[in-house]
Symmetry: C2
Amino acid sequence: MVEDLFMDDMRLRGKEVLRNVAFESYEQLSTKIGHSALQVNYKSVGSDDIQPILAEYLVGCDGAHSRVRKAIPGVEAVGVSQPAIWGVLDGELITDFPDIWSKTLVYSEEHGSILIVPRERNMTRLYIELKSCQTPTALADLARGDDLGQAFVMEQARKIMAPFRIDWSCIEWFGRYQVGQRLASHFSDESASVFLAGDASHTHSPKSAQGMNTAMHDSWNLAWKLNLAARGFARPELMASYEEERRKVALDLVNFDYEHANQIANGDAVALAKNFLFNVRFISGIGAEYGPSILTQPRVIHEESAFACAEAARPGSILPPAKVTRYIDANPVDIQLDIPMLGQFRIYLFAWDVFQSGTFLESFSNSISSRTSFVNALSAAATASYARQPRPTAPEDVYTRPERYVKASELFTFALITTMPKSEFEISDLPLLLQESRWTLYLDNVPEQDTRGVRCTEKWLGRLAPGEVAIVTVRPDGYVGSVGRWDAGLDESGANAARWLDEYYGGFLKLPDEPST
Amino acid sequence: MVEDLFMDDMRLRGKEVLRNVAFESYEQLSTKIGHSALQVNYKSVGSDDIQPILAEYLVGCDGAHSRVRKAIPGVEAVGVSQPAIWGVLDGELITDFPDIWSKTLVYSEEHGSILIVPRERNMTRLYIELKSCQTPTALADLARGDDLGQAFVMEQARKIMAPFRIDWSCIEWFGRYQVGQRLASHFSDESASVFLAGDASHTHSPKSAQGMNTAMHDSWNLAWKLNLAARGFARPELMASYEEERRKVALDLVNFDYEHANQIANGDAVALAKNFLFNVRFISGIGAEYGPSILTQPRVIHEESAFACAEAARPGSILPPAKVTRYIDANPVDIQLDIPMLGQFRIYLFAWDVFQSGTFLESFSNSISSRTSFVNALSAAATASYARQPRPTAPEDVYTRPERYVKASELFTFALITTMPKSEFEISDLPLLLQESRWTLYLDNVPEQDTRGVRCTEKWLGRLAPGEVAIVTVRPDGYVGSVGRWDAGLDESGANAARWLDEYYGGFLKLPDEPST
């Protein structure tokens, strides 16, 4: 179902997935970093002919037994297997056990544990521990593929559930696995043209639903970097950050999972619930955070500020949800979701008062638009790049109007958040850069709609001092990149802020050498 | 777009709309009420042949100039036309006027008013008053269809908007109308087999978006009654209630609209905003309420209760939104939306404590299931009726599981709302009727998720006294039908409550005479 969503979207944009082919091998035709060319060899199912395809990049999303991983020189899966073997059954249950509609753990000291997960269409997923198989003999049987079939697993489930009765009116899927926590020794090759994502780069137990979720985060982290690389904007540091960031999350996951899987098998319900609650921020995806790096800068206070400590929009974390009013149409919006993700960076400016911060905004806007600005040079190059190779469009764009968000720049969406009342200023009072960003002008005036009852300014910044202007930069994947603060009363602050952006983006972006194809 | 949603849904359920045919006339083949047969005559577009179709019912949803209305003996549109003539333009604007993304009123004393309504796809709708046409001569011109074409209307818009400039990069739709507030003298024929809905039964200005919305409410009010009539469950009183209820709403609308349209033309922005705010409950649809009738009983307190005055779930009004936790899967839900609308009535029981109210629940459940219960007899007949003629199904049903809500009865969904903690009782502690209704067992324990911070019990009932049990019945269209309260400590309360339901439903439902076809 999830795959269909992606494929339908791709199809709307004119892209199709090639099916029934298996990766065989790849060769590096050129190793100049950033301009690699790969020959990828594949076989069609039912044929022994090897066919080549030329590509700039190769991403192995081919699961725990990834052939792409095995093809990268020097890369291997490192980790341990757990002795526990589990069966998985998806089906419709006939049972007098009442609690199949919540996530439930049933523990039998003799026979092992069952984790019950309700599914769509009246179905229930059962993870069934095959405790009797945790002997060297049984493990050897398993290795030979003997005996531990569906009927055996169903019988184990019945034993664990007794005295409640359990049967199935239909079974849609049966699986069996031995939990292993493993990480690929590298998530890419040396030339940064071959990458691993999802189970190909990390494996763990399926019980906290982190497989698909983490894989999508991997891909999302990689996708925008690949886009910038393909357009010639990526420094090698940007491509290296993929492994750096996702390995950290994979390690966090494997460590959590090891503990969590063991606690499921131990059957201590209270400890398990406590462990789950403690880790729920991580499990929900919000808690997957990146360490300090060129992409996610440790907080630097450029002008002294006493109020920077309670920041919730922390570099390396996802933007916290907040509610604001869109100036142009007076609609309340979830600001962290309002700007569509088009591969561009977001630059949020915070000012209490548009007129008091007028000098800052004007000088910031002028500096950003000046010939010496790196951000400006990047924007100009991006205009050329997206003119040559536009974003794939879809009929739905006529409703979502992506062009509203890339008018000032194809690479940066600028946004202004102010607590000033709408009636006290007009869009025409703003500098040109922000006039061109009129769809991302927000009024911070609906704290009552926030889950914690606070304004976006307070939620993201902790506090903004009177006369202070702050900038929060956000990466194309929604992670906060950097946070800066300036005294709007100083003449040079606007120019300083623009220079601060130049320095930040200069750490991992570059101007394309030549028009990319 | 809205039509497509309905048609897609119909198509999923195997129903198609016959297009390119025009209603000509109908004849009543039999006039016995409740068993009418109609011959409806229609013409295909481009043909003069009149073709007949046989039908039990005919609903004229054919707009302000409804031919069905004209065909019903003795029915005519009654009301007045306003002198104002308006043009409507949907298109993409080129303008320096900044406020086209909110609903905006522009008033020129000399040239008249423009109402600006933002639309999808960058479009803006303009309602343009053609003030210069409010003379007898101009009205006569209009009657002849002269002069007031698109170019004229665009020119009027430019005059009203000056000194702002306005032009169109494209125009998708142009229309022109004279506002008239009219009501059909009857909404159905005497035999209750021909009905009018939407503009066919009431016309008014389009400016508060009440045309389509009220039409859908009309149809929705009629649809469930027609379903019951077609299955033989409807007393004549039920079919008569359509006109009674919807005429009241149409009158409310026409009165509001008259005032509102005049205020738009008057150009007093403050008075208009005040009028809009005062009427916003009505405009949103929530405020469309029905008066006391056999369907929407004035509040009757069967056992004395001191706390019945603050009831928010009032007969004749829509259910107020409230949050509860579904017992079976511990999911928080919007209770007013949780039970899918399958043409059935809903019966909500409120009890603080499942065990203290045990006698009531048991005796209520037994009475409802007894051979003397009218509700039980209706349910039995409904089982037969839905077996002969099932609800049309759609593939999506596999996700929504409608069968969960009609297990105890095809005609009634029973629900229990309690503040008791989940850990203190099991579904198996409940009487069978409520065990069969396990998907509609709710815990009233999430007031913090409510917009007003109160529990469903308080929101719907004002207050429920200790030891009291209350019942709120809801019609298939989501309107509250009746509210009753009983002292759970009295032995006869449960049976009394069941009898109270029998009396209520007996007012407008009956057992089918014979198996319907």
